[in-house]
């Protein structure tokens, strides 16, 4: 049996340690996923906690039709998208400060700027395209798993992903970055 399923069953049987093990196993990936979506550390911390709280509340609804990891991402994605939509209502654009702790080399600074621009371009994507890109590129989920998290077909995932990446390339070109190194 899958390790995750075993942990879930232990938890359902009343073992609280199993939930702690689940959190220890997944807290970093969920935090990273949420952070990449929100680009805000405090928000990412809150959403990571909220995700696991939702897991506690909804674990009895986990039907094991998908893997536990997919289900967990689904909960995190749901919480994150809700948060993003809520924030958009009273959005205040805060310019991100570039923390440069490198030793002054111009090329390194330009590299840093380039990564900064990619992040900015990512944050400007429509939320479902951003979610697809983050799940596919960062979280290493394949099309089927991503479709499971997003609750859509694999074809829709492919379309969202390609549109997202195309927009990112265009945004990078506009900012003067040649994507071929």
């Amino acid at each position: 049996m899958d390790d995750d399923i075993r942990l879930v069953e232990r938890y359902m049987a009343g073992d609280d340690m199993a939930m702690e093990e689940i959190v220890l196993k997944y807290q970093r990936v969920i935090y990273a996923f949420v952070y990449r979506m929100t680009r805000d550390m405090e928000e990412a911390k809150d959403l990571t906690q909220k995700t696991f709280m939702n897991v506690i509340g909804g674990i009895r609804n986990f039907r094991r039709q998908s893997s536990f990891k997919t289900w967990l991402y689904q909960i995190a994605a749901h919480a994150t998208l809700n948060q993003i939509r809520q924030c958009r209502k009273n959005e205040v654009e805060i310019g991100e400060t570039i923390v440069c702790n490198q030793k002054g080399a111009l090329s390194l600074l330009m590299e840093k700027q380039r990564i900064q621009d990619v992040r900015s371009a990512l944050s400007l994507l429509p939320e479902r395209q951003r979610l697809t890109v983050v799940l596919r590129v960062y979280e290493g989920l394949n099309c089927e798993e991503t479709a499971g998290v997003m609750g859509c077909s694999e074809g829709a995932v492919k379309a969202q992903y390609h549109n997202g990446v195309r927009k990112l390339r265009e945004a990078m070109k506009e900012k003067g970055h040649d994507t071929v190194s």
Binding site: D16, R36, Q49, L122, V180
Partner: protein
């Protein structure tokens, strides 16, 4: 192994994340040498992967599992309390009330319903007919001149008074005669 341009484009995230088999990697690398579009996309994906995630610090990583464990303990306690709580039966109360209501009100309504004439159920039930005050002369027979409608209502196969008397023995007939005499020739 051969993969199309679209298939390779779809596999680039896995390639950037080093999640492919050797065969797939070789195929993609050969394609990347010729295809500028895919090469550009790979650079972009690598840039994306290079974006750092701000570390919330050790305190967060250490306290979160404990916090969630405490919450799950509360949840378990809440669930077990609910399992043995009488409040769990609350949803059954309306159903129970309905059953009680139906149990008491329905028979009452039946009792209150207007009593139907017993003859309505079986108009030919002789035992229900009150014949005490009827004399033999008042009983109309077929020969006595029934209307066509009355005659049609009578069951032709039903045994008549005459046929009933025929089945009686002489002793029974004598006993009947004596009884009728004692009751002043009134039947019933």
């Amino acid at each position: 192994m051969t993969l199309s341009h679209d298939e390779i484009r779809g596999l680039l995230p896995e390639y950037a994340g080093v999640l492919l088999t050797d065969d797939q990697k070789q195929c993609i690398e050969a394609h990347l040498e010729q295809c500028r579009e895919c090469a550009e996309m790979l650079v972009l994906l690598k840039d994306l992967r290079d974006c750092e995630v701000a570390d919330p610090g050790d305190i967060f990583w250490k306290t979160l599992p404990q916090k969630i464990r405490a919450l799950s303990r509360d949840e378990h306690a809440r669930r077990s309390a609910w399992r043995f709580s009488p409040a769990r039966l609350l949803p059954l109360v309306p159903a129970l009330l309905l059953i009680i209501l139906a149990f008491f009100v329905f028979p009452f309504q039946v009792r209150q319903a207007p009593q139907r004439d017993p003859l309505f159920r079986d108009p030919l039930e002789y035992s229900l007919l009150e014949l005490d005050d009827i004399t033999e002369k008042q009983i109309r027979t077929r020969e006595g001149g029934l209307t066509a409608e009355e005659a049609a209502l009578l069951d032709a196969t039903a045994p008549s008074y005459h046929s009933e008397f025929v089945t009686l023995s002489s002793d029974e007939l004598s006993a009947l005669f004596r009884t009728l005499q004692s009751k002043d020739h009134k039947g019933g």
